[in-house]
Amino acid sequence: MIRYVKRFSRTERTLHWVNALCFFFLLATGLILYLPSLAVAVGRRPLIKDMHFWSGISWISLLALVALLGDRRGLLRTARELERLDTGRLNMGQKVNAIVMASFTILFFVSGLLLWLGERDTRFRFASTVVLHDGLMFVALALLVGHLYLALIHPATRHSLRGMTLGEVREDWARVHYPKWVSDTESGA
């Protein structure tokens, strides 16, 4: 019989999928605004601009809402896990990815707000805002491609997707990839 171990809580999974959904929507609308060929094909710039702006506001609001209404104590525990860049339930790459994306969320939000405000008031206008917003997009896109490859394609790691959808992963798989976590869980640590 296949045994499973619980890897991600309901709050963690909700946070992940809210983040993913909003990120894809922002990426799609953002690319329409950014790439001339898409801008020509799609048109409707004022509408796309509004959609991009309000989905950015929704992104941050929904993340805050999930964190507030969900298992706050569990999230704090996860945050403490991320402090140590070793392999427990998460490996170093996953931790770095999560931390960098969290800081990018702040930076996307601040630079996006500055772009929006700068169009309305010169006090918020900086020549480098657009460089920051675009640069974040390029780095985040590279991280996303790597993340998708490992979660969906790479045979050794793609089982981890089950953890982020159903919450559980196969125990034998976890024992190979995260031996310390499994033994800690078994000993009740």
Binding site: G43, P46, E83, I99, E119, V130, L132
Partner: protein, 228 residues
């Protein structure tokens, strides 16, 4: 009993360094990016550093105006002795001027070395003969309600052009086909795209973006909150 070392907070450190680095880039991002693109400049024609050639396409309405060479006209009227309605062929038969200039957007991006070809406004003025009281020029876009103005003096600056070619090709639709205003000394929002009319008026007024709070005299580096 040996003392336990305090747990190192790598995660928090990485988070704070990334946020601080990102925020500080508001001060240095553009100049560093400028150095990077200059350094890879020669290779960039083979492999572009960014997929857009540095351009962003800004529009204010739902769809971009189209261009039909048979029916397109440029109406030049207002305070002139001889209003004209130029066909595309007539426009192309006027004396051709060329220039290589940098295009600056007020939001912070620039595209260096853009090769423009088109017509000087002085050659258009020779056709219509402005009246002495014409102190401002209104540029009307087919993308309604976009208009902008220059003073007569600004419209005669050395590199001001009605451009119908960009980088050796007819002006692409997203850049304002078939004709746009180019005034490299001012930010892009003064460089009206999809030109369909030029009206000579008593004096320059506020255009589309100026009515939303932008400076009427949009000198690069010396307006809209920037100082160089």
């Amino acid at each position: 009993m040996p003392e336990q070392p305090a747990p190192r907070r790598y995660g928090r450190g990485l988070f704070l360094v990334t946020v601080a680095g990102g925020l500080s880039s508001l001060a240095w991002g553009k100049s560093v990016w400028g150095h990077v693109s200059k350094a890879v400049g020669p290779a960039e024609s083979l492999v572009p550093l960014v997929p857009t050639g540095g351009w962003r396409i800004y529009t204010i309405s739902g769809s971009m105006p189209g261009f039909d060479p048979a029916s397109w006209r440029l109406e030049v009227s207002g305070l002139v002795q001889q209003p004209v309605s130029l066909t595309y062929a007539h426009l192309r038969s006027l004396p051709r001027a060329e220039q290589v200039t940098t295009f600056h957007c007020v939001t912070g991006w620039s595209v260096p070395n853009v090769h423009w070809a088109g017509v000087r406004l002085s050659d258009v003025y020779d056709l219509v003969r402005p009246l002495p009281e014409a102190g401002g020029i209104q540029f009307v876009s087919a993308e309604e309600p976009y208009v902008d103005y220059l003073t007569m003096q600004q419209s005669l600056l050395r590199n001001v052009m009605l451009a119908y070619e960009m980088d050796g090709k007819p002006l692409p639709r997203e850049h304002g086909a078939p004709l746009r205003l180019i005034i490299p000394e001012m930010y892009g929002y003064k460089n009206v795209k999809w030109l369909k009319g030029i009206n000579l008026v008593p004096h320059a007024e506020d255009g589309y973006w100026e009515q939303l709070g932008y400076d009427r005299d949009a000198w690069v580096g010396r307006s809209n909150g920037y100082s160089s």
